[in-house]
């Protein structure tokens, strides 16, 4: 059985969110039932490089635990930033 977990990101996704983000990512990765983790960017209208860094760090841990991470619902400036960072190279996009 495999399950998908969704991490809904806040409007302002920056270092200020790192504790929450860490908690959610860690619980998804520690949970053996979950093997797909989706970052829901639907509400995000600001993200900074620290946020990209956190995503990168957790992507590394996820792939070490054989779990996949997805990006979903990014739009406007947020989509542009993700694009500029070429996040599609290590995250799959989900529509």
């Amino acid at each position: 059985m495999s399950e998908r977990a969704v991490v809904v990101l806040p409007m302002r996704f920056d270092y200020g969110y790192h504790k929450d983000f860490q908690k959610q990512c860690a619980s998804c990765i520690d949970n053996p039932v979950i093997n797909e983790i989706v970052f829901d960017f639907g509400q995000v209208d600001y993200l900074d490089s620290a946020a990209l860094g956190m995503m990168m760090m957790w992507q590394r841990r996820a792939s070490a635990a054989n779990k996949k991470m997805y990006i979903k619902g990014a739009k406007g400036a947020t989509a542009q930033i993700l694009d500029m960072a070429n996040m599609q190279r290590i995250f799959e996009y989900m529509t």
């Binding site: 270092y15 209208d45 600001y46 900074d48 490089s49 620290a50 990209l52 860094g53 956190m54 990168m56 760090m57 590394r60 400036a77 542009q80 930033i81 694009d83 500029m84 960072a85 070429n86 996040m87 190279r89 290590i90």
Partner: protein, 570 residues
């Protein structure tokens, strides 16, 4: 008495000329765990206070045989070099005016005779507590001030070292303009210009995660690698690969460096660009964006070696125009409505074709945010090749370039042979450069040899082994096609493809000479055909450059071996 007192016993000076009362007070205070010292007159009290630093509180009787308590107070406040302990005055006088007088002389509290001992104990306790608290506060203040000074000193030293490192590694180059503003005393952005041994410009605009000291630390490894690899003559691809490798290894996974790295190759009029995680850079001429270089890669320090893509974009630039690049700080500065400056506004300013693009963008940004201070580090750069007096153009502009090999420099020969995939992976010119520098040959000679070897090797690989037609570049879209084809043919190299380089210094010859020869396993090309090309055509420039630098050049039929001779200035 309290926690504060338990750490260290406190000492109270009892000043009273009445021996019995003095003794009584001392005994009472001792019973409360306090140390006491007695003084029986004004003079004695003054002396005790001068001698002993460790008096924490004074019980002072007003009527002393040789003066009054107030006399003591006045002398204490007048010539005190160290802090005066708090004083509790003891007197029979209850007159308000008198009390006021006492307080204005600086006493801390007052007790009426006959002394109520339990009241005295309470007052002593309260005063001692407040004194202890004050001492603690001033101690902490001193510590805080000390830490602050230390931190400021550390920061100043770190800033100096950081800026020194940047200064040591960057060059001021005509035609390269940068604008940097950091949001704190350390910048997570850097702009570095450096010329290679062939005289080409290499430029890096980089932006590390976050800002301040942590960002500056992340970026530091990149600085020296970029500098030393450019100085050694490496191409863009191995430089970005090495930067990525080093940053992946040495920085934590959530730290990385977005970078725009550019090689301006004046000899061929080409711009090579690697953009990883930076905003789109533009080639601009007369207010028109002729080419965009968007971020095609992830930032440096994220991907492993096998995932990392060092593919470089190549663009043949127009005679006039400049390359404009910037960090995302510019895009992300927002106004009070949370509306960020955005790419649209950047493009608008570019297209208004201002005299000074950097100034214009900054004033547009200030107008947008309504603030003079920015949240993130902001950097911009403009590279204008037509203003750069560097590269092969400078070497060929004057009488050409000559070097000298000292008389008595012993004979040497050096060479290598590569086959198959190694031809693509191994950068030969930097190796040559390193070897010649190691031997201690003069800088001009090293540079001439480097340029000649670079051109010979690139001809031998592209037109010899890979059999690429240089005419391809002249066609429409031929440029991209050429580089795509080159990449794909490089992947198909086999053991049958061989390239050979030999360098020999022959001091015994009547005219001592340095011979450089390169041979490849290609079919050879017709030099006559190449010679007929006009100099305006770019493809023949390699050979033209070699001819300009060497005293003799020979292409040996069928055209897969080339030999150049350099003579030392006598």
């Amino acid at each position: 008495m309290t926690e504060l007192l338990s750490e260290k016993s406190l000492t109270i000076l009892v000043v009273d000329d009445d021996q019995l009362l003095n003794q009584l007070l001392c005994e009472f205070l001792s019973s409360k765990g306090l140390d006491t010292v007695s003084a029986y007159g004004l003079a004695e009290a003054g002396q005790t206070l001068k001698k002993a630093d460790e008096i924490d509180l004074v019980l002072l009787d007003y009527d002393l045989g040789d003066g009054t308590g107030l006399d003591l107070m006045r002398s204490l406040t007048k010539d005190s070099t160290h802090s005066v302990p708090p004083v509790i005055m003891i007197s029979v006088n209850e007159d308000p005016e008198f009390l006021e007088n006492c307080f204005s002389c600086g006493i801390a509290d007052y007790i009426i005779k006959p002394v109520n001992l339990s009241l005295l104990a309470l007052k002593v306790r309260a005063l001692i507590n407040s004194v202890a608290m004050q001492k603690l506060i001033s101690l902490q203040n001193a510590e805080l001030a000390h830490f602050k000074r230390e931190a400021e000193r550390e920061e100043a030293v770190a800033k100096f070292i950081y800026e020194y490192l940047l200064g040591q590694n960057s060059q001021r180059v005509e035609g390269v303009e940068t604008w940097l503003q950091s949001s704190s005393s350390f910048s997570g952005d850097i702009a570095m210009a450096r010329t290679s041994p062939s005289g080409d410009l290499y430029f890096m605009l980089a932006d590390a995660t976050g800002h301040g000291l942590s960002a500056a630390i992340t970026i530091m490894p990149a600085v020296s690698i970029f500098n030393s690899m450019v100085a050694k003559g490496f191409h863009l691809q191995p430089i970005v690969t090495e930067l990525n490798k080093k940053l992946s290894r040495d920085t934590p996974p959530d730290r990385f460096v977005a970078a725009l790295i550019i090689h301006v190759q004046q000899g061929t009029g080409e711009l090579h660009i690697w953009n990883g995680g930076m905003p789109t850079a533009y080639w601009v001429s007369a207010g028109k964006i002729l080419q965009s270089f968007r971020s095609r890669h992830m930032a440096l320090g994220i991907l492993d070696d096998h995932q990392f893509d060092s593919t470089v974009e190549t663009f043949r630039y127009t005679k006039t125009g400049f390359l404009f690049g910037y960090t995302d700080g510019l895009l992300e500065e927002a106004n009070s409505m949370g509306d960020s400056f955005s790419m649209r506004r950047v493009v608008e300013v570019i297209e208004s074709d201002p005299d000074n693009l950097h100034d214009e963008l900054i004033s547009a940004l200030k107008l947008h945010t309504g603030m003079g201070h920015f949240k993130d580090d902001i950097s911009m750069c403009t590279l204008t090749p037509s203003r750069m007096l560097i590269g092969s153009s400078i070497l060929l502009s004057g009488q050409g370039m000559r070097g000298k090999i000292a008389e008595g420099f012993g004979r040497f020969s050096w060479g290598l042979e590569l086959s198959g995939r190694q031809i693509a992976d191994c950068e030969i010119p930097p190796l040559v450069n390193e070897f010649l520098q190691y031997l201690g040959l003069e800088k001009n000679i090293c540079q001439i040899v480097f340029l000649i070897v670079t051109e010979m090797i690139s001809n031998a690989i592209d037109h010899g082994i890979l059999r690429l037609e240089s005419g391809l570049k002249e066609k429409e879209d031929g440029f991209d096609l050429y580089f795509q084809e080159r990449e794909s043919r490089l992947h198909k190299l086999t053991a049958k493809d061989v390239i050979c380089l030999a360098i020999e210094w022959n001091p015994e010859a009547p005219n001592p000479d340095l011979t450089i020869s390169v041979r490849d396993t290609g079919d050879g090309y017709d030099p006559g055909k190449l010679d007929k090309r006009s100099d305006e055509k770019l493809s023949g420039r390699g050979l033209h450059l070699i001819r300009g630098l060497a005293q003799a050049v020979e292409i040996i039929p069928p055209g897969n071996r080339i030999c150049a001779v350099i003579r030392s200035i006598q």
